[in-house]
Amino acid sequence: MSTQDIIDTLAGIEPGSALDAIRARRLQARENAQKSYLSLFEPIDAGDVSLTERAAVAAFVTGLHGESSVATFYRDKLAPNADGARLLEAIDAEIARGRTSGPYGSYPAGPLSIENTAGLIYRVSAASKSALGTRLAAALEHAHLLVFRPRDAAASDMKALLDAGWSTTGIVTFSQLVAFLSFQVRVVSGLRTLAAVNA
């Protein structure tokens, strides 16, 4: 693949380094993490989720995890889109409103209920909602749930997305995008930590 490996780039892994050699021992995983990124951000069919929506959700999700090379990367991906500056302003405001610590949430009623942990039930502000539109506002609310309290997810959350204009296929792609970023940001963080310890 001609494109530079995105995890290596974000984690600062140099060709020929010790971590480069370790990553080469899981070549299929490395190549398919890259293909996952490409199929989400350079899809062959963006009919159900636009490229701008993908970049906007990614900027929000990675921003909720705190400042990082990954968050900067996706902010930079959103900025050049039509409406990018306006969306970025709204998303920055929503990241500030949505930052908290997870995972929290509730279990099905029963013995695990003693582990239920309360936390922020995030909703987009009225001001941002008009900047983002119905679809993206619903997406940000669901993305926040996926990031911080995935065990709270319920069938009614699927209905909220469908009601906001998301197709069933669009929900699958959007869910994959948030879930993939949850993976990518952690691999990058873990590899960066290991590289720093060895530096």
């Binding site: 021992r25 899981r26 909720l64 705190g66 990031v147 994959q176 590899l191 930590t193």
Partner: protein, 192 residues
């Protein structure tokens, strides 16, 4: 969607079903593009995979990432401890379905079913042994948001005997379950 759902209310190593909240593709509608996305044709029988195959390119890449992280045991961390990382992540995020599958695998490959069950029953603070505690703690630190994984986790993994390649397997396995848990938890629910 399907028949009656009977959700489990505890973490278990028993086999569970999974029921989608939105429409999977009907098996009869699957094309070769979809089968490429499923990777294993037999996955067409699974409601979960027939839902994810609505975006076949992402599913294919996700599946191949998953398989290499967990099944490529030519070198690196033993399979049992990769499964432990997956089970611990799922326990912490609260994914009863994922925890059941990967706790079973951890038991199968480690022959330490009782220790695995204590992870499920007591949670991520269960005292297993130095090596397993370090793997669980590192997985949990990675799953937290903001991410809490740091140099102390690496020091503990090293002191428990893991080399850097094995530590990368922990990072990959635990990180991957932050992907898997979010799909399983949010697109449907487990059923006994």
């Amino acid at each position: 969607m399907s028949a009656t759902v009977n959700p489990p209310v505890v973490f278990t190593q028993n086999e569970l079903g999974w029921v989608s909240w939105i429409d999977p593709l009907p098996e009869a509608d699957l094309t070769e593009r979809h089968f490429a996305g499923l990777v294993d044709r037999s996955r067409a029988k699974s409601e979960y995979f027939r839902l994810l195959v609505r975006d076949p390119e992402v599913l294919e890449a996700r599946t191949k990432t998953d398989k290499d992280i967990f099944y490529n045991v030519a070198d690196g961390l033993p399979r049992a401890e990769r499964e432990l990382a997956a089970a611990a992540t799922s326990r912490y995020n609260g994914c009863i379905y994922c925890a059941s599958v990967h706790a079973r695998f951890a038991s199968t490959y480690s022959k330490r079913r009782d220790d695995v069950q204590r992870l499920l029953d007591e949670g991520i603070k269960a005292d297993l042994d130095e090596r397993w505690n370090a793997v669980v703690k590192a997985s949990v630190a990675l799953a937290a948001t903001p991410i809490a994984f740091g140099p102390d986790n690496i020091a503990e993994l090293r002191s428990a005997g893991l080399d850097d390649a094995e530590i990368v397997d922990v990072i990959n396995g635990a990180s991957f379950f932050n992907w898997a848990n979010r799909l399983m938890l949010s697109l449907g629910e487990p059923s006994k």
